[in-house]
């Protein structure tokens, strides 16, 4: 059978997907045990037991200085910043993207501006944000928003702009005006695309969050990783990175499920 026609079923997909991950884990363990055999105090490739101990300490013991349990305090702070940034960017993408895509005069007025902002590397704006907004939460959230909103706006606007002309003409023959087309034709059809844009923006959003936290913060997942790096504390860094990956996967899965549940028509509910 040709490879293009070999469609693995559910069980096979799970098994096949697990193989490379298991191989990586085995490779890591092999290297870690080899290093520990030479030097039992090795810090570069910690053993699973070492990581579990370090993580458990982070998750249960209160920090001497701040009095908080750092793992949960970091997670909460990071998720708050990320959630706020994502929410603001999503709202902007929906409102601006919708009018930009559906109303040609608005597109002519603000399209070039949005394109211009979108090509600026957001990290280059970080100093400006720190100067203008201080080193607090606002600057970090603003970096996430500035980093992902323009791309999301352009994506939603592009999608709305390519709605078939026939469909817009049809809506008008059914008595719809600009406002009604916006809220009943363009908005619902933009929603699945908005969620897709948000899912794709999750990666960059995490990048901007970790960057902002690494540079100026006193709590957060990114802050912690960069802090303990000074002590070569790989036994903390590796579990933290895994935790970030887990959070990102959960968010992506949640958004995908939400889109499928809320907009079945957009996910090939075909005959």
């Amino acid at each position: 059978m040709r490879w293009v026609n070999r469609e693995p079923d559910r069980k096979q997909r799970l098994a096949l997907g697990a193989v490379p991950m298991l191989l990586l884990v085995i490779l890591y363990l092999f290297a870690a045990y080899a290093r520990h055999a030479v030097n039992p105090a090795d810090k570069i490739l910690p053993l699973p037991s070492g990581m579990a101990t370090a993580l458990w300490a982070q998750m249960t013991k209160a920090d001497v200085l701040s009095g908080t349990v750092v793992f949960w305090a970091d997670t909460l702070a990071s998720l708050q910043r990320l959630g706020l940034g994502l929410a603001i960017a999503t709202l902007m993408a929906l409102l601006v993207g919708l009018v930009l895509g559906a109303l040609p005069p608005v597109r002519a007025t603000f399209g070039p501006l949005v394109t211009g902002i979108a090509v600026i590397p957001p990290i280059a704006l970080l100093p400006i944000l720190f100067v203008a907004l201080g080193l607090g939460e606002t600057a970090k959230v603003a970096l996430i928003v500035i980093g992902i909103a323009p791309v999301m706006i352009r994506d939603v606007a592009g999608h709305v702009g390519t709605l078939p002309r026939e469909m817009l003409a049809k809506a008008q023959t059914l008595g719809a005006g600009s406002w009604q087309i916006l809220i009943r034709v363009a908005l619902p059809q933009a929603m699945p695309r908005l969620i897709l844009a948000l899912r794709l923006a999750l990666g960059p959003a995490w990048v901007f969050l970790i960057s902002a936290e690494a540079i100026a913060s006193d709590v957060g997942l990114g802050y912690r990783i960069f802090l303990v790096r000074r002590y070569l504390a790989m036994d903390v860094i590796i579990p933290y990175v895994a935790w970030i990956a887990l959070l990102a996967i959960a968010m992506d899965w949640g958004l995908k499920t939400l889109s499928q549940k809320a907009f079945p028509w957009a996910h090939g509910a075909s005959h």
Binding site: M167, K170, A171, G175, W265
Partner: protein, 252 residues
């Protein structure tokens, strides 16, 4: 008898390219006008001009004696070959859309009794086109023929003065197409519609229409093929009388 729709000296040009030239036409109330012609002869442009989706370069179009608005409106219904229905709405919601937009300018949604009345009206219209059993399906769950039935019901709920069909059955297979011919003729009679239908299918044009218009270029310059536009080169009245029931001559 004054015509329902009149075109006077209508030209459509894109830069140097003349698509339609000097189209003069009157369409009577209750007629079924088929528009045929070779590809690129401006059939679809003609329909878009009447629909208001495109503005003629010069000339006057009147509907009921009034100059046509320069954009689409509820007085002209349309069914395109594709993209005529809203993919995010169910069958019933698709047909209710027109009623909701007309009656609720701000929210474009109806509630309570008004919604029930609109749903009842839409359901009756869907039964008339044979979709009474599919009210809660999404368009993507239906066949091409069912989608076109839905598009027709959606247009008819607005009681348009004139119904424009742009190759509505072009993408359907022959059996379904014959069913659709029966349906559109039935609706034309029951609702007393005035229809302009653009089609590739000459047989369809003659079997359905009371009048057949052939659009083509009157002159052709081989060195400047775009210099001359198309106009109605043939205008054939098939049946003088108003809608008459006639068996479908399609069956072989």
């Amino acid at each position: 008898m004054s015509a329902l729709l009149s075109l006077r000296n209508v030209w459509v040009e894109y830069g140097d390219r003349v698509v339609l030239e000097k189209v003069d036409l009157d369409v009577e109330q209750g007629s079924f006008v088929s528009v045929v012609g070779p590809s690129g002869a401006g059939k679809s442009t003609f329909l878009r001009v009447v629909l208001g989706q495109e503005v003629p370069t010069s000339g006057i179009i009147t509907l009921d004696g009034e100059p046509l608005a320069r954009e689409c409106g509820p007085d002209r219904g349309v069914v395109f070959q594709r993209y005529s229905v809203f993919p995010h709405l169910t069958v019933l919601q698709n047909v209710m859309f027109g009623l909701e937009c007309t009656k609720a300018p701000l929210l474009a949604r109806l509630f309570g009794d008004a919604k029930k009345r609109a749903a009842a009206e839409a359901t009756a219209m869907l039964q008339a086109v044979g979709l009474g059993d599919s009210l809660n399906l999404y368009p993507s769950q239906m066949s091409g023929g069912m989608q076109q039935r839905l598009a027709i019901a959606q247009a008819l709920i607005m009681r348009p003065r004139i119904l424009l069909l742009d190759e509505p059955f072009g993408a359907l297979d022959p059996g379904i197409r014959a069913d659709m011919h029966v349906l559109i003729r039935q609706l034309w009679q029951d609702f007393g519609l005035t229809i302009i239908m653009v089609t590739h299918d000459i047989k369809e044009a003659f079997s359905l229409g009371t009048r057949v218009l052939a659009l083509d270029k009157r002159r052709h310059d081989p060195h400047a093929p775009h210099r001359y536009g198309a106009t109605a080169v043939y205008d054939l009245e098939l049946r003088k009388d108003a809608p008459t029931p006639e068996p479908e001559p399609e069956a072989a």
